[in-house]
Symmetry: C2
Subunit: 329 residues, 2 copies
């Protein structure tokens, strides 16, 4: 295993300490129980948005804590769900009377622990479940996984909460973004969890994992490595079949790198995906290209499409000031 | 070779086309001769900043074209210098009468071609040569390489140019930033140039390349893999010996990922480096952590320290609106 590391046991704490030190104007780090919160708690009555999940997907979620997005994030150990005490402590720290909204990626552990925290919360609360990964069927096992589309939910609902939307409105908006969003990924290599020290899965030099999850979960098909165009065609077709955009439908196109794929390649994928959707009459109104929902050091990427209307565009464009997404502030 | 690619010959053009499409509010792409320029040319009399170099270091330089940084960037093929006709065409496109400032990383081909372009320029011009890589001796061969510190020059001089500083002032400021900046990197893996299809260098599973260049050039020593703390101690000591910061000296600390190293590890490195310099009395006044000057898919990182005074802090904090650095606009 080739990583910058002292001991696997201290990696997460030391890394979060560095994160909080580097972004002291934006966040604070509470080590025990572990959460990252905004440096300045939101105004009285603002709905507080809290997300979280296993670490290893940075900048998700801690990199999206700040004005216009999350109020707090609860990082678990790498690829391990955070615990209810983290969520409760985070909620207590950022609650200003407007209620708590959990944004939860659809994984058994995350769902169970956020549910448990919700049951213990003594203030108004709700949960948005993100399940944007259309590579697997909707009614298989736990259902679809929450992947890179989570960022769209956090940004759009975050903007509305900042503008004073109440809990019911934030919840409804979150559901609307989830419904309008579809993602699918492909891996060229595995990732390596530091505490395990070896690749999560084996993959041959001429193979790719189509429909991979963000923890290296098997996807829909192990295939021979194809050209970028063939890969994008397969992914974008799956997304288009799911969302069925009409002609002149506006959309946000997000190409997300899993960690080890250069920007040069991500922009190639963006170009191909934009052409694919434009050829079907979709108007790519907004774009985001980069490493946002990663899988440690995995080479690969995902494509996310969110169908937009004027309201969603307004929330997407609204000011945001976080460590990893920052504009118009 | 596992990459998203159709053909190596079209990768750069297709990727830049995607880049320009994704950031149409910020940049324009001129394919022949190849350069990226601001969507809105600067006001009359503004000094125009142009950088460039081999591709494969994205987001450097194209990701830093925009208000508050570069006016244009000239990307060569991967790890290959751009040619004088690119620089001349870019200069012609962005010149508004204030003169042209080239920001050049110290590599033989880059220096030769920017020099040739400068000789052909018929407007006032100057060049800042960046040579911040302190891993190799100053007077060896071509001298020190220009690496991740280039971004500091582009940001700080870019802010001054935007505020109306003239050519002589921009040139002097650029020299001052170069003098105040030192960088050193370490590689855990090689990178793979698409047209070659195999790793640039071989490195064993338990080795690292200390002092590596951003094209995978050999550094100062091939060593056994060390802990993050040992690595940071060696790099930060070299930088401190070079810059000799006094107690209470303000500085910008930049941890740059080479492409395949997760943010989790980069923030660990940041934490260790910040502690190292703080222990020596340095005040870490500003921070930047992320993949900014990459080496394709290389795992590794570099540490850059720029000594700051009030003026440099003011320029660093000034508004910037580019694809990959954006704040306060």
């Amino acid at each position: 295993m080739k990583k910058f590391i002292d001991t696997p046991e201290t990696l997460l704490h030391d890394s979060l300490s560095g994160f909080a030190l580097a972004h002291g104007d934006i966040v604070r780090y509470n080590p025990e129980p572990r959460f990252i919160r905004r440096a300045q708690i939101g105004p009285a009555g603002k709905v507080a948005l809290i997300s979280g999940g296993g670490s290893g997907h940075e900048p998700l979620h801690c990199g999206y804590v700040g004005v216009g997005m999350l109020d707090a994030a609860c990082p678990g150990q790498i690829f391990t769900s955070p615990t209810p005490d983290q969520m409760l402590a985070a909620a207590q720290a950022v609650d200003t009377g407007g209620g708590i909204l959990f944004i939860v990626k659809n994984y058994a552990g995350d769902v169970m622990n956020f549910d448990m925290a919700a049951e213990l919360l003594e203030v108004p609360h709700g949960s948005v479940l993100v399940h944007d990964d259309v590579s697997i069927p909707e009614h298989q096992g736990m259902g679809r996984r929450g992947v890179a589309g989570t960022l769209m939910v956090e940004k759009i609902v975050g903007a509305a909460a900042e503008a004073g939307a109440d809990l019911a409105a934030c919840l409804a908006l979150g559901e609307r973004v989830v419904h309008a969003t579809a993602s699918m990924g492909v891996a060229l290599t595995s990732c390596t969890v530091p505490a395990l020290g070896k690749p999560t899965f084996e993959i041959a030099g001429d193979e790719m994992e189509m429909g991979v999850g963000i923890h290296g979960e098997r996807g829909r098909e192990r295939m021979k490595l194809a050209t970028a165009k063939e890969i994008v065609d397969q992914i974008a077709t799956t997304i288009a079949d799911e969302l069925k955009p009409e002609r002149n439908q506006s959309a946000l196109l997000h190409i997300n790198g899993f960690g080890a794929t250069p920007l040069l390649e991500l922009y190639l994928i963006y170009h191909l995906a934009a052409q694919f959707f434009q050829d079907r009459g979709v108007v790519i109104a907004r774009s985001l290209v980069g490493n946002h929902t990663t899988s440690l050091d995995m080479a690969g990427c995902s494509v996310t499409l969110t169908l937009l209307d004027d309201e969603l565009i307004r929330w997407w464009d609204a000011p945001v000031h976080t460590a990893s997404l920052r504009w118009a502030c």
